[in-house]
Symmetry: C2
Subunit: 200 residues, 2 copies
């Protein structure tokens, strides 16, 4: 049963971000500039995280050597995609993000102490990193590009290879570019509203 309510967000924007956007599995050769990534970030940075903690850190894999270090730690089916994408971004959660809170959350000086425990802090870093991964995917789409987020990789190996300090945890690798030929699988089913929402 469709809803009769019309959203404030216009139809073309709905299509661009949600309805027609798809996870891409192939891309054209057209490069994606750092300036485009900056424009994306300057938009999505405003979306909320708890305690305004913003734990997301992004490595843009530009050098051939970095690309090879990443590809060999991707799972089998993801290797070719990661090798071929015009731009690959490695998204990680900064496990020491609390150190920045005095600047990011000046009106709540006690927040740092609430994150003193490293297990609680890691949980918060990954949770908010996952929230920011969503903003990142929608930001890529807002730039007219397609995102191919992947979680199939050797997490420990990538953490060590790219963040030797142990203070970061990779949460996703995202291929970015203009969609190529046969970029999409058929769309998989979504849950119905009544399977997800319950009035209590």
């Amino acid at each position: 049963m469709p809803s009769d309510v019309t959203l404030a967000l216009g139809g073309p924007a709905q299509d661009l971000l949600f309805r027609e956007a798809r996870t891409a599995n192939s891309f054209t050769d057209e490069p994606v500039s750092d300036d485009t990534m900056r424009a994306i970030y300057e938009l999505i940075k405003y979306a909320p995280t708890s305690f305004n903690g913003q734990p997301l850190r992004v490595l843009l894999i530009r050098s051939h050597e970095s690309r090879m270090r990443l590809v060999r730690n991707m799972s089998g089916p993801n290797q070719a995609k990661t090798h071929a994408a015009p731009l690959v971004a490695l998204l990680a959660a900064d496990l020491e993000f609390h150190e920045t809170l005095p600047r990011l959350l000046p009106h709540l000086p006690g927040a740092v102490d609430m994150l003193a425990d490293s297990a609680i802090r890691e949980e918060a870093a990954v949770f908010n990193g996952a929230m920011q991964l969503s903003y990142f995917i929608l930001g890529v789409r807002a730039a007219g590009l397609a995102a191919g987020p992947m979680i199939g990789f050797d997490e420990d190996a990538i953490n060590k290879e790219f963040f030797g300090d142990g203070g970061h945890k990779v949460i996703a690798v995202v291929n970015i570019g203009k969609p190529g030929e046969n970029a999409w699988h058929p769309r998989s089913p979504r849950l119905a509203y009544d399977e997800v929402f319950t009035v209590v």
Copy 2:
């Protein structure tokens, strides 16, 4: 340094979802209908989750009794906000979401087995639930409403009170409505692009 790149998403949509939207702390009395929530879901359901798992479940707190059961388990400063909001949504991750995968991911029948371990499954449920929380917040904004997401509550008590089966984990409580008077705190700082992005 601002970017020279113009995004495909139009300026009004950028403002609605990111730039002018803010986490609201007070709301008008105007109600938010189930039909509006349905319209929001029919848009955001298309955004991606890993394995297309869609673990998010939402309780719309409509009855006075449900509201009271929730309010008393919110942390101090969140109680009044949760009491007053026109609509309160309790967002949870379904820890048994893998049971739906044969329907949601028909082309990858092995995915269910990869989630057989309950600890791995909980991690995946919460991670993807956090991703869907972001889509939900942006969906509320797409409807011209403001969201007030909160994580300050007694998690164990809410899990027991609303999901006695132990198969769900609350991840956020979100107040929803038209922003009221003095709805916003001043915007807290965001990290600069060069603090978040590194080219390697």
